[in-house]
Structure formats: structure tokens, C-alpha cells
Subunit: 382 residues, 2 copies
């Protein structure tokens, strides 16, 4: 079910939410669209015969993770141990910590987690693998490890030529089980707007990890998991034979970046920031009470000559053209009717960074606020 | 007292803090440098005969505001009501809410604040002034109002030609007292690197507000306060005869932006983000566990061809050249000795945005962690 099916354009649907909020700035979630996004991705993954492991970094809320699990997700992915701890506390079993865990303090926390839930960690070095193995032995527990491969993002990940050697190292370590190979093909975002190129790049990334998995298996190593990521590319990755798991995150809410990527329509945006016009000092701009401490400074991925920090939902030509910490400056046509006191719904560039700035979100359904969810895993230690 | 006086270069001083932290990423404050920054600005203001009203948005911590008050600050400035409430709870009297307060929910909170502490609000419209006046009458209290003037930033602020009319409107309203004129000359940051031009622009901004104050007084209106802002320009503004108040914020901690502005030396940086190297997958980059959810996405104000999200304190050539939410990518020379597990101290581009992402900071002195301060006003409603 999408907004189109209901016959409501996204702009006025989100703008309607703006009037429900007692004070601003606040993030409001349209629960119906959230549910539709979650079900659509789960159905796609099920049709493709691929496991869906959503990334919780977007929302950091057990409520959203639970909705995804009820729709068929196999487990959760987290970006940091603090998020894993919150999800484990909320009863989630089968957590992928997609981050190399390094250092004694974190290793002790990881081992404590592994004693109470099934943990998998992705990493790209023997150093990290050996540290985890030692911690698991010391605490009498175990976990699974995935070899993270750099397929072009040049962030975390061994180069493909070194993946087999790391897999062999992991296979020899005690208290850890080699589970396969993982990549995050985030470099595909550089091709935003060119769907064919994005698909080709995703297929290339999939081919790299599939070849590594094949070499691992030929070498007698276990590689049940071949996992690729990102909301922008999940639709391409799940169509590649041999891929066993996709890990999108942003798809639950969507944002202007996902729209730019062609991974969502504006009608699929489930979260907006509601703000109030606090100043209209000149004909061609107004100021709202949402700046970079509310929206983040994240820019649009396809850069234009103008910077922008988000767009009004109901006024497609009205952008936040400048922002400081608590001020967003709307570029306006001189005849814009916006005036002091008006409420506006903003489509954020990057909802993951925006949610991380808020301690709770409001949840709307059927024209009223029905719940408030704490952003439980916000502000947790890495 | 500055780091130079102690004979300790900033880089190794902050890098030494990195080893004191049990886990990363964390913000660590060097209390000695914080105290030196606070005392230096207070002494400058006292010498100039100008009131110092530091902006709490940088730190959001009553502990830091109290240090500034003990050094001679006349009160605090806040960017939002939630910060004012935290500072009032901590016992601060004389709070400048430098934001037009609009909407019933906020007006009720403002009136409640005005009943327990002396409140001044700066604003740029009759609409906002009338709303505040009505709320003060309804709650049987009062506050002071400042006319905010746009001296070039083009954010909040009436145009200079309209300032006198707004002052007259305020003067006629019940339960509010006209207190003068205010500007935030943040547009001066565009001249970063050209100290003479920054000084000239600051003097121009001061001239505009001084002329308005003179016209107000000639018209029989009260204008005891002529207030200008910003850490980058405080040293210029306080030297202009007739300016009664300066409102710097970032100077307590400083950051790479303040260094670029020439308002601080690196040895004056009192806050760093401590991170751990978690991956060294190639010769020319490493990954640390501090990304945009730890440092913010705020860029350097003087843009280079390369983006950057901060710099290592002890390695002046090593920048965070890319960042995603939980990853910072360090551009390295191939012979860099940095390896997995190493701790690094990062100089942030913009400390105000970084602090806002953390629930608490660690405080170091004499080679050990001596305190932890909650970022008490973080996450509060506007």
C-alpha cells in the first residue's frame, strides 16, 4: 500500500502531519507508509529467495526493527555495539555487528553480547579477527565472522585479492566460525540518477563477492552467507543469483537521497521534520526553527550549484538553501504565502542523520499522533 | 595561561588525552585550556568595558556556563527555550533567548521561564513581539525585548531601515520592555583568513546597530543594550565605542573553524574527539570509529578542493577526507605508522555540532580524567 494507492499526494499527506504536532521541531513518522515500505521490501526479498537483514542505524528504534521482523526480516544489522546492546535488550536474536570491533573495552562488551544472543561480526583484518577470537575464548563463548570486502567504496574491506587469505586465517582461529563474505557497495551512490549504471555497478560488486565465496568453498571453507547492502541497491542485489542476504536500512523511512537514487518515490517517504516559520524578514526568504542540529548538515548526494538542507513537502520548489545550528533559511518566491507561525513539513536529505539528532519521534496514523517512540539506541557508545 | 606558556604543543597535548579514554569515540575536554580560554575572553571584555554574555549552544553544559560566570560573564545566551530551561534549572538568572519565540506552546514555556528568571528575547517582527507580549500579560509576568537587525548574514533580523519602526511597536506593547538592539554578524565568517577584512566588516556591522540605537534614543526610546556576537569577531566588536555587549560561544573550546578565522591558535583548542583506528585496509587510508554521527558533517569554512571532516591533532597533514555515519577515512601517506588499535585525537571542524551529538563529555586535567559532564541541554525542544 502506497500513498498513490490511497490517492493522497506525498506533499499534502506529510504537510497534514505538520498540523498534528504540539511544538516544533519534531520528527513525525507516518506509520502507514512505514509499514508499507517494510512490507514491500520484505515481499521483494521473499520473492527473490534472499534473506532480508535491515540496518537499524536508520531508526535506532526496537519498534521499527520489530515491524521489520514481523514482516519476515531474518535479523538485524547494527553499526555499533551500543545499538547491538539496545536490540539485544529488546529481545532480538541474530545480530550482525557490521563493524570491526577493536580494543579491550569493546571486545569485552562483544563477548558479553555473544553470551546472550547469536552475534556475527564483519571485519577486514586478521588483527580484528584475532582480537575477537581471544575475547570469545576468554569469556567462554563464540560468534560468527564475515570477511568484509572492498568492492569500490574504499572504506572498510580487504581488497578482493586478499579476501581468501583472511578467510583462511579466520578458519584457523578458535571460538569464531567463518560464515562467508560481505560488502557494502555504497560507492554506487555516486551514480545516482543513472539507474542502469547503478544496476551494473551493483552487479559488479555482487560478482566480486560471489567469486570470493566460490574460491572459499573450493578451498574447503564455509561461506553460507554472501551479503550485500544498501537501500539504494537492494533491488539490484537481490536479483543476482547466489546472493543470500541484503541489508538495506533507509528504506523504512526513505528521504530525498533515496528519491534521487530512484530507490523510492516521494510518496514512499514515511518521515518528515515538522518546523515553524519564525521569521519572514524579506520577500525572498523565511527562517524556520530547524537547522543543522535538527536536520544534520548532510547535503544532497547529487550536488547542484546550490547547497540545500532539505525541501518543503508541500512546496516542491522551496528548499532550505542555508542552515545554521538552529536556523533553516527557506529560499522563497516573493509571492510565497508563507508567514510567521506557519507549520511546514520538511523532507530531509538524509533521515538517518536527522533521527540521530532527536531523542524521540512522534508516530502518526489516521490523522492523529498515536505514539511516541524513543530513539533508544541514539547516543550509545560505539 | 595557554599551552604555549606551558611549553606543550597542542598536538601532543591533545594526543596525550587520547590515551586516557577507556573506549572511543569520546569527546575529551582539557579543563586547563578551557579555563584559560574563558579567563582570556573575560579579561578582554573587562578591559574593553563591555559585558560578556557567552552563548551556551557550544557546550550546553551548566558546568561550563558557571566557569564563564565565575570569570565575569554577565549572563548567558541560549539558542532555544530548552537550553534556557536547563540553564534556569541550574540557577542562572539573566538569560538571553536569542531566537524569535513563536507559537502557543513555546510562548507558555517562555512565560513560565520569565516568572522565575530575568528573560530577554531578541526578535525581528511585530508578530513575534505581540505574541510574547500577550503571553506575558496572560501569565502575569514580563520580559525584555531586543530588536534583532540583519547586518549582512541574511538570516534573522529586520533590515536596518525598519528597525526603528519595530522598536516603536515594541515600546507600545504591555508587559515587555524594549532593551535595545542586537545583531549576529555571522556573515563575517565568509572573510575567514583576511583579518583586516573581518575587522572592517565587524566595524560596519557595529556601526549599523549603533546608528539604530542612536535613532531609538533620539526618538525617546530605551536602548541600553547594543549587542554583537560571535567568537570570530568578539575581539573586533568589543573595541568599537558604544557596543555594550559581546556574545561569543565557541571560544570556550575553539575548533579548526576558529583557527581558520584567526580567532584562536591550535594551542587554544580545549576539546577533541578521541577515536580508534579500526581498519588499515590499504597503504593510503585508514578508518577510525568517528564519522558524521560523532563529528557532524560540518565542513571547513574555507573550502579546499578536498572535503574534510576534521584533522588529527598530532599529525597536521592527516585529515579525515571522507566520512559516513560511523566511519572516518583518514588520508595517509603510505609510510604512516598508524595501525589498527591506535588511538587518535581529532580536532573537529565545528565543536558545537560535535558536542550536540554526545550525551556526555570527559574532562581531563593533569594527565587523567577528572570528571564527566552530561551535555544537559542536548536534545531539548526548541
Amino acid at each position: 500500500m502506497t500513498a498513490e494507492i490511497e490517492g493522497t499526494p506525498a506533499g499534502s499527506r506529510l504537510q497534514d502531519l505538520a498540523e498534528l504536532v504540539a511544538d516544533t521541531p519534531r520528527i513525525v513518522i507516518d506509520r502507514r507508509i512505514l509499514q508499507a515500505n517494510i512490507v514491500r521490501m520484505a515481499n521483494r526479498a521473499a520473492s527473490a529467495g534472499v534473506a532480508l537483514r535491515p540496518h537499524t542505524k536508520t531508526h535506532k528504534m526496537p519498534q521499527v526493527a520489530r515491524m521489520a521482523a514481523e514482516a519476515g526480516a531474518v535479523g538485524v544489522q547494527v553499526a555499533k555495539l551500543g545499538e547491538a546492546e539496545v536490540m539485544a535488550d529488546a529481545g532480538f536474536d541474530g545480530i550482525l555487528v557490521a563493524y570491526p570491533i577493536v580494543g579491550d573495552a569493546k571486545l569485552a562488551r562483544l563477548a558479553a553480547l555473544a553470551r546472550r544472543t547469536r552475534i556475527t561480526v564483519s571485519l577486514d583484518s586478521a588483527t580484528a579477527a584475532e582480537g575477537i577470537s581471544r575475547a570469545m575464548v576468554a569469556h567462554g563463548t563464540s560468534c560468527r565472522l564475515l570477511v568484509e570486502v572492498d568492492t569500490g567504496l574504499h572504506r572498510i574491506g580487504v581488497q578482493p585479492s586478499e579476501a581468501l587469505a583472511l578467510a583462511r586465517t579466520i578458519d584457523r582461529l578458535p571460538a569464531v566460525e567463518l560464515a562467508g563474505v560481505l560488502t557494502h557497495e555504497g560507492h554506487i551512490y555516486t551514480a545516482a540518477g543513472d539507474v542502469a549504471e547503478m544496476e551494473r555497478m551493483t552487479q559488479d560488486a555482487c560478482r566480486v563477492v560471489l567469486e570470493i565465496a566460490a574460491r572459499m568453498r573450493a578451498d574447503g571453507l564455509a561461506a553460507p552467507v554472501v551479503s550485500v547492502g544498501s537501500s539504494g541497491t537492494a533491488r539490484f542485489g537481490m536479483a543476482v543469483p547466489g546472493i543470500t542476504e541484503v541489508r538495506p536500512g533507509t528504506y523504512v523511512f526513505n528521504d530525498l537521497t533515496q528519491v534521487q537514487l530512484g530507490a523510492a518515490c516521494e510518496s514512499d517517504i514515511a518521515a518528515c521534520v515538522v518546523a515553524t516559520v519564525v521569521s519572514r524578514p524579506a520577500a525572498d526568504w523565511a527562517v524556520i526553527d530547524a537547522g543543522t542540529k535538527t536536520l544534520s548538515s548532510d547535503q544532497r548526494i547529487v550536488r547542484t550549484s546550490e547547497r540545500s538542507f532539505g525541501r518543503l513537502a508541500a512546496w516542491p520548489d522551496t528548499w532550505i538553501v542555508r542552515a545554521s545550528e538552529e536556523h533553516g533559511v527557506l529560499g522563497l518566491a516573493p509571492d510565497s504565502p508563507l508567514k510567521i507561525g506557519d507549520r511546514v513539513a520538511i523532507l530531509p536529505n538524509h533521515i538517518c542523520s536527522a533521527v540521530n539528532l532527536h531523542d524521540e519521534v512522534l508516530v502518526a496514523e489516521d490523522g492523529r499522533i498515536v505514539d511516541r517512540w524513543p530513539v533508544a539506541a541514539r547516543g550509545r557508545l560505539q
